[in-house]
Amino acid sequence: MTFLSFLISGISLGSIYAIIALGYTMVYGIAKMLNFAHGDVIMVGAYICFFATSRYEMPPIVGILLAVVVCTILGIVIEKLAYKPLRAAPILAVLITAIGVSYFLQNAALLLWSSNPKVFKPIVPTGSRITLFDGQLSISVITLVTIASCIVIMIALTTFTSKSKMGKAMRACSEDKGAAQLMGINVNATISLTFAIGSGLAAIAGVLLCSAYPTLVPTTGAMPGIKAFTAAVFGGIGSIPGALVGGILLGVIEIFAKAYITTQLSDAICFAVLIVVLLVKPAGLLGKQIREKV
């Protein structure tokens, strides 16, 4: 039974990684850039929701919506100011700019909201849980909410990219920007839309992350951001189902490593598994192996 409860905490942690990884994967798939500031957009989203629900005592749903709106706007603004002028620049220049944006968001948050940790008010009360098998297994409600939101978001995004016109435009841009442009797709607008969606997702990820682990500081998003990036690569960066698989596997491996091997080296074990996977499947679990043209 402890195995099952570890598995559930692993999936819950993994679901959060997966939602964050989605933001990385979408932006990477279309703009071919690693948006290292993504983790910090998560932090901003969590702060917005915190202020809405704790300081101004709005209902959680309003807080979430507000966070999504603010983060979407933030994402578009960042893209316009910092990334768009670099469309033609080498990929590494954009990577460094993204890191600059990440520092900027962290330090702006530090100045605006101070370094004192805030305790996030979870969207469902802490301690509310469901017990199964005569109390042998207990699952907290937030775990279920997290996993459910992850699945819903995943289905919605897959439908969006495969069915809607905008989604198809996004896929076309990710395949071949030049050809997409020739087909009359507005590549710039599509990239901006991707950032908007990615940042909106970041807000939701922020709320879920802080509901499960309720302390909020300006660096809250940094490490989950890196872990989620790892998860995105794990599953095959650029692939939406890959982000789900990668995120959940990473979460489960992390919890299992802590529970069954040693807490001291759990991160090292996680990364070692990642390396082995990438050596066997060099494009990640669900990534497309693109054959090089001679």
């Binding site: 990477y28 071919k32 690693l34 910092a82 002028p85 670099l86 033609a88 620049a89 080498p90 990929i91 590494l92 220049a93 990577l95 460094i96 700019t97 890191i99 600059g100 944006v101 520092y103 900027f104 962290q106 330090n107 702006a108 530090l110 100045l111 890196i226 990036f229 790892t230 690569v233 960066i237 040693t262 001291q264 080296l265 991160d267 090292a268 990364f271 070692a272 990642l274 390396i275 990438l278 050596l279 060099p282 494009a283 990640g284 090089e292 001679v294």
Partner: protein
Amino acid sequence: MKRSMTSRRTNLMNYATYLLVIAFFAVITVMNSSGNLSSIMKGMLVPICAYSVMAVSLNLTVGILGELSLGHAGFMSVGAFTGVTAAVALGNHVSSAPVRLLVGMVVGAIFAAIVGVLIGIPVLRLKGDYLAIVTLAFGEIIKGIFNNLYVGLDSRGFHISLLSDTTNLDPDGTLIIGGPMGLKSIPTIATFTSGIILLLITLVVVFHLVNSRTGRAVMAIRDNRIAAESIGINVTKYKLMAFTVSAALAGAAGSLFAMNYTTMVANKFDFNTSILILVFVVLGGQGNMMGSIIAASALTILPEALRSFSTYRMLVYAIVLILVMLATNNPTLKSFFSRKKKTDVPLDPDEPGDGDEGKEAV
């Protein structure tokens, strides 16, 4: 004809780089002897050298080999921990600080090179961002291991244990690496002169490698792996060679860096440090060693120069970083500087290589 022209230009750049380093050394020495050097500058001299070596060595991987590495600080860490261990162990027998420092740096370089080979063999099979993430993973693994490693030395020799301190040292023994406590009581024997010497050696090694047959093979692989393979270049061998040299130099730099401080923890060499060094490389220009040194020095001094902004310091740093990236990649500015040059082909964004001096030497 064109070939000899470009290689002459490359040589000129190389000499200019040596000259810059020597001039920097001369200026600092004169300022120091005339008492015009502030404590803050004095304190930053060794780190500037160490970071410059880090930037140049990473530039070998990123600029010349064309592979993105996000775990370069891991090699620095290996160098720091093994190098300091060697210097401490030697302390009982050799009193000369320069000798201990030298041995420390050599040992650091050797261990980092060994780790470089071990990591390079699997990693270099991967491409692009997958390679980047695996180097990041290795950096984190190295950090995790050093955070749990205990190395002690007493009259019976070395005692090594992992996870918990079971070294059971004699009373006269010293615990050199104390897990999360990191390196304790490091002999602070690093000097500015030794830093400059290491930097010059690094430049000699890198320039010779780049201008040799090996270097041309490495750059051929960067520019077109399949073409290089088809003309019989052993891709794995040359990639591994460049990667290992890069790791060894980083190890020596790590050893130098650690011996400038009394204490050092594994967390110092984390992902953020790797990124910081990558920023030096990108800002200085991929393949451009002089640029790496200037960028490393400038970005080491910048946060200190911004102290008068007090709480806004890091915010200003971030803004400066973004603005510099935007400015150096601004098409208008770029075309202004390269008006005389006719070949300004828009780069394929998938290609990590970037138009620069190193590339032209091919």
